[in-house]
C-alpha cells in the first residue's frame, strides 16, 4: 500500500542490473575468445582455408626397343567426392547425392556406400565413377554449386594401342588392392591412386609412378580452390621404360602364332624370342590375349569374371608361367650331357629301331620304321628317341650304361630348367626337373628305368616354360653362355636422360665343351637343312640359314581314335646359323606335330626379324 514511506529501489533497477550482468558476461567471453585465445582461433581459420593438395604425377610411358610408344597416357575424367565438403544438412546432402546419382546413372545408395567407406579420411577425394565422358564432367563442373563436395578430376589413364599383341607383357593398372593397402599408403600412395598390377606396369611401378607434387592452396567451404599459395614440392613425372621388345616383331609374331593356333584348332599358345648375344627379350607372346584397355578405365566385374573363368586363362602369361613337357626340344640337353659325360663320343652309333622293350614295357621311337644306327648329330637331326633313351637310362640288353637321372638333372638345371630365370616380370614359374628323390617324396614311388627314358626325350614329369626353352636355345646358339632374360634396357626421365641402366647379365656358362656344342648346333642345322631332318619338309629349305629342333610332346588328355595321347606342337630355333642374332621357342597347346604346326611359326618369325629390320 502506498502509505509506506520505505523507499525501496524500484524494480527497474533490477533490470538495469540484469543488463549490466549480461554485458559483463558477453564482454568477458568476447575478451576470452578474441584476445586471450585469438591466436589459436586465427590459426584454425587458416587451417580451414589452407589446404595442401597433391598433384598426381604423370605416369611414365613404355617404349619398345626402337622408341615406339606402346603404353601411354590419355586424358580422362573422374568424378570423385571429398566427404568433408559434402553439405552438412542431411536433407541437402541426400539431395546432392541423389542428383549426382541421376547424372552418373548410379544409385544413391551405391554412392553413399562408397562415401561412407572413406570416413576416416574425409579430405581425400574418393572415386565414384571413372571414366566419364568429357561433356558429363563439364556439366558437373559448371554447376558446382549444385554438387557441393563433388570433385571433377581430370586424370590421365593408360592407353595401350595394339593391346591384342602386347596385353599380358604390359599388364594393366588399377586401384590399390585392399590386401596390403597399408604398406602402399605408408610408402606415399594415396587411397585413390592407381598402380601397376601385372606385367611391366607392375614390374616397373616404382620407376614409372613418379612423385606427386604438393601445392598449398586456399579453398572455400565447398572445397573449391580459390587461390594457389605456394608449391611445396614439385611434381616429378614418372620415368619412361625402354623395353627390349620390338613392337613390329611382336605384332608379327603374335599374328603368326594366332594363325598357327587357329589352323591347329588350339586354344592356347606361347612364343618367346631372345637375342642370344645378350639375353634381350625381342618378343613374348601368350595367347589367348585380353584387351588391357578394359582395365585402364577400371574393368567391369562381368568382364573380369569372363577373363578369369576362361579355360584358356588369358590372364596368365604362358610364356613365363605355362609349364609344359618340352618333348624332343629337350634332346639337346641330353645330347650335351651324354657327350660331356663321355657316355658316348661324337662318333658313337646307337641302334634306333622302331621300339625297345625293357622290363616288359615297350618304349617306342616316333618313327615306326626304325632309323638305323645313328650318332649324336644324326639322332638330333632325325629326333631318334631310342638314342636318347639309352644315353640316359642305359640298355639292359646290351649292358650299355646311361648317365642316370641325377646327371641329366644336373645338366638340365645348368641349362636353366627347373629354376626361375629371374626375368623382371612377376609370375614366372620354375618348371620341374624330376629326380629320384623328387619322385620318392612327391609321388611316393621309386624311380624306374622307364622314367630315365622319358626324361631323356623331354617327357615324363619334366616340365618347362617357353622362356626356359628359348633361353636354352639362345645359350646353345651363342656357344654356351646362359643369359638372364632382359625385358627392359633402361629407364629414362622426361628429358630423355637415362636414370637407370639395366645391363645384360650372365647366369652361368654352360658346362659343355665348345666342340660338343658345335655338334649340337650342327645337328640342329640338319633338322632344317638335311633331307632327313624332321623339319626339312615343313620348312622347305628357307633361304635364311635356320637351325632348330622339333618337338611333339605327349600330355595327359583325351586319347584319339587310335589310342594316342594328345600332343603339344613345339619348335625351337635360331638364325642365322653362323652368327645367331635371334632365338625363338614356340609351343602350341594340343597343336599336333611340332614340325607341322610350330616350326613354320618359328621360321616365319625368324625371317620377320630380318625383313622388319629389327636392330
Amino acid at each position: 500500500m502506498a502509505a509506506t514511506m520505505v523507499r525501496r529501489p524500484p524494480r527497474v533497477f533490477g533490470m538495469y542490473g540484469a543488463v549490466a550482468l549480461a554485458f559483463l558476461m558477453l564482454l568477458g567471453q568476447l575478451w576470452s575468445v578474441q584476445i586471450a585465445n585469438g591466436g589459436q582461433y586465427l590459426r584454425r581459420a587458416e587451417v580451414n582455408r589452407v589446404r595442401i593438395i597433391a598433384e598426381k604425377p604423370l605416369r611414365g610411358v613404355i617404349y619398345d626397343r626402337a622408341g615406339r610408344q606402346i603404353a601411354r597416357n590419355v586424358p580422362s575424367w573422374t568424378i570423385a567426392i571429398r566427404p568433408a565438403d559434402l553439405p552438412r544438412v542431411k536433407t541437402v546432402r541426400a539431395e546432392t547425392i541423389e542428383r549426382l546419382g541421376r547424372v552418373l546413372e548410379m544409385s544413391a545408395e551405391d554412392i553413399s556406400r562408397i562415401v561412407d567407406q572413406a570416413k576416416e579420411d574425409p579430405f581425400t577425394p574418393v572415386r565414384i565413377k571413372s571414366p566419364v565422358p568429357r561433356d558429363l564432367a563439364l556439366v558437373i563442373e559448371e554447376q558446382q554449386n549444385l554438387f557441393a563436395g563433388v570433385v571433377v578430376q581430370s586424370t590421365p589413364i593408360r592407353a595401350y594401342p595394339e593391346a591384342q599383341h602386347f596385353g599380358k607383357i604390359l599388364g594393366y593398372t588399377g586401384p590399390i588392392p585392399a590386401a596390403g593397402i597399408q604398406t602402399r599408403l605408408d610408402t606415399g600412395y594415396q587411397r585413390d591412386d592407381t598402380l601397376g598390377l601385372s606385367g611391366i606396369e607392375a614390374a616397373f611401378e616404382d620407376e614409372m609412378r613418379g612423385r606427386r607434387g604438393l601445392k598449398q592452396v586456399e579453398v572455400d567451404a565447398l572445397g573449391r580452390v580459390t587461390n594457389e599459395l605456394s608449391v611445396v614440392e614439385t611434381t616429378v613425372i614418372g620415368g619412361n621404360v625402354a623395353l627390349t621388345l620390338d613392337a613390329q616383331l611382336q605384332r608379327r609374331a603374335s599374328e603368326l602364332l594366332a594363325a598357327g593356333m587357329a589352323k591347329a584348332k588350339s586354344g592356347q599358345a606361347a612364343l618367346v624370342a631372345l637375342d642370344p648375344r645378350n639375353g634381350d627379350v625381342l618378343a613374348m607372346v601368350s595367347l589367348p590375349e585380353y584387351d588391357n584397355n578394359l582395365f585402364a578405365a577400371g574393368i567391369s566385374s562381368a568382364d573380369y569374371k569372363r577373363l578369369s573363368e576362361d579355360r584358356w586363362t588369358p590372364l596368365v602369361n604362358h610364356a613365363i608361367a605355362g609349364q609344359y613337357p618340352p618333348g624332343s626340344t629337350f634332346k639337346m640337353v641330353t645330347a650335351a650331357a651324354a657327350l660331356q659325360e663321355r657316355i658316348v663320343n661324337p662318333q658313337t652309333r646307337i641302334n634306333c629301331p622302331a621300339s625297345v622293350t625293357v622290363n616288359g614295357r615297350t618304349f617306342r621311337n616316333w618313327n615306326p620304321l626304325g632309323q638305323g644306327t645313328l650318332n649324336a648329330r644324326e639322332s638330333l637331326a632325325r629326333s631318334c628317341d631310342i638314342y636318347f633313351y639309352e644315353v640316359t637310362g642305359g640298355n639292359p640288353h646290351s649292358g650299355f650304361k646311361g648317365m642316370g637321372i641325377q646327371k641329366l638333372a644336373e645338366y638340365a638345371r645348368a641349362f636353366g630348367y627347373g629354376e626361375r630365370s629371374g626375368i623382371r616380370l612377376a609370375g614366372e614359374e620354375r618348371g620341374l626337373v624330376p629326380t629320384e628323390e623328387w619322385k620318392r617324396e612327391v609321388k611316393k614311388e621309386t624311380w624306374f628305368i622307364g622314367d630315365n627314358y622319358n626324361v631323356g626325350i623331354g617327357q615324363g614329369d619334366l616340365l618347362a616354360t617357353p622362356l626356359q626353352m628359348a633361353n636354352m636355345t639362345a645359350a646353345i646358339a651363342n656357344g654356351g653362355t646362359l643369359y638372364r632374360p632382359r625385358i627392359a634396357s633402361a629407364v629414362r626421365d622426361a628429358g630423355g636422360n637415362v636414370t637407370q641402366t639395366i645391363a645384360p647379365e650372365v647366369i652361368r656358362k654352360l658346362p659343355v665343351a665348345p666342340e660338343h656344342m658345335a655338334i649340337i648346333r650342327a645337328g640342329m642345322r640338319d633338322v632344317v637343312a638335311h633331307s632327313e631332318g624332321t623339319a626339312y619338309h615343313a620348312l622347305k629349305q628357307p633361304e635364311l640359314p635356320i637351325a632348330g629342333k622339333t618337338g611333339t610332346a605327349e600330355f595327359y588328355g583325351p586319347m584319339d581314335s587310335k589310342g594316342n595321347l594328345p600332343t603339344h606342337a613345339l619348335f625351337v630355333g635360331y638364325a642365322p646359323y653362323e652368327d645367331p642374332q635371334i632365338a625363338v621357342a614356340v609351343i602350341v597347346y594340343n597343336g599336333g606335330e611340332g614340325s607341322e604346326t610350330a616350326a613354320p611359326i618359328v621360321a616365319e618369325t625368324l625371317k620377320a626379324y630380318f625383313t622388319l629390320g629389327v636392330r
Binding site: R11, V12, M25, Q29, I35, A45
Partner: protein
Amino acid sequence: MQRKSWAKFDLWLLFLALALACFGFLVIRSATLLADQQVSRQLITQAAFAGVGLMALFAIAALDYRVLGTLAIPLYFGTIAILGAVLVAGKTIYGAQRWIAVGPVQFQPSELAKFAVIVCLARYLSGREEKGFGLKTLVGSLLIVLVPVALVYRQPDLGTSLVLMAIWFGMVFIAGAPLQWLGGLLAVPFVAFPLVWRVMHDYMRRRLTIFLAPERDPFGEGYNMIQARISVGSGGWWGRGLGNGTQTQLNFLKVQQSDFIFAVLAEELGFFGAAILLGLFGAVFFRCLLIGQRSRDSFGRLLAAGVTSMLLFQVFINIGMNIGLAPVTGIPLPFISAGGSSLLTVFISLGVLQSVLIHAQARRYDTQPNVSVPATIRIRRERFPLRWVGGRIGRSVAARRLQRLTRPGAHR
C-alpha cells in the same frame, strides 16, 4: 488529460536504432558479398524493411499507446489463430514450420507473437495492479503466455518459446511479483530437468549436447558452433577488415546473415567493432528502461519492461551462441540479423515506447491516486528519475531545473 507532445519523442532512441540498423547493413553486406555485386538481394530487402519499419515506428508513435491496450484481446487471439495456421500451412525452411508466405515476402508470425504477448501481458498486469500481485495474477499471466509458447514450441521453435518466457519473466518481475515466487519458478526447470530432457524434441537435445561439447562432431552438428567461434576469435583486436574475413568470405561460417551474423561482425571488425555494437545495444536498453521509469502509468512501464526483456534476451542469447555461452537456438540478433519480420517487430516495439513518451498523461500516480502532491515533489519525480543515482550532482541539477521550471510564465 491527454496531450500529444512530439517534443517528448526520444531522439536518442531513434538515432541508436538507426545506427544499429546501419551497422546491420554493413555486416549483412559483408555476409552476402558476391564477387560481381556490391549490393546483394538480402541487403536491399533488409534496407526496404528498415524503411518500412521506420515508417511504422512513426505511425505507431503517433497512435496513442493506450489504444493498443484496448486492442490487446483481438490482437492476442488473432496471433493465436495465425500461429495455428502456421502449424498447418506454413512453409518448411531448415526443417521447421515457421514462415508463412504473404505475397513475395516471407513473414514469421512468431515475431508478431512476441509483440502480441508484450501488449497482452502489459494490459493484463496493469489491469490487476490495484489488487496487488497475488497468485491469481501469476497464474493468469502464465496462462496468457503459455498458449503461444505451446504453439510456437510445436513448430518447433525453441528459441522463440524461450524469448516469450523471458518476456513474461521480465514483465512479471517489474509488475511486482514476490521475489520468492520468482526464485522458485526459476528453480523449476533445473529441478524438473530430467523430465524436460525426455520430453524435448530430438533436435533440441542435440543442440544442448553439442553446446557442451561441440568438438565431438566437428563436421556435423558441432560445425556451426566451432566455426562461429573460430570466426569470432580470429578477429582479434581490430578484425580482418570488412569483406576480408576468410571464414565469412570463403563460406566456412554458415547461416551468416542471421544466426551467426555476429560472428561475421566479430571476424571482420574485431573486438573493437564488437564492443561498439555492445555499446550501442547497451544504450538502447538504457533508453528503454528510462522510458519505463518516465512512464506515467504502469501500462507504459510494463510495455517498456517487456520490450527490454525481449531485446536483452535475444541479444544475450544470439551473441552468446556465437561465442560459446549459449547453445544454438535460432534467435535473431535485433537490428543486425537479416530478417524482415524481426526488424519490423523491433521497430514497432520501439514505436510503442515512443508513443508511451509522447502520449504521457498529465500527472496521475499509480500508487497515490487523486492526492494532490506539492508541485516541487511532482516535478522532481517526473523529471529527475536519477535521483537515486545522482546524489549531490543530481540534486544540484535538480535545483537548476527547478529554478527554470518555476520561473514566471513557465509551462506546467
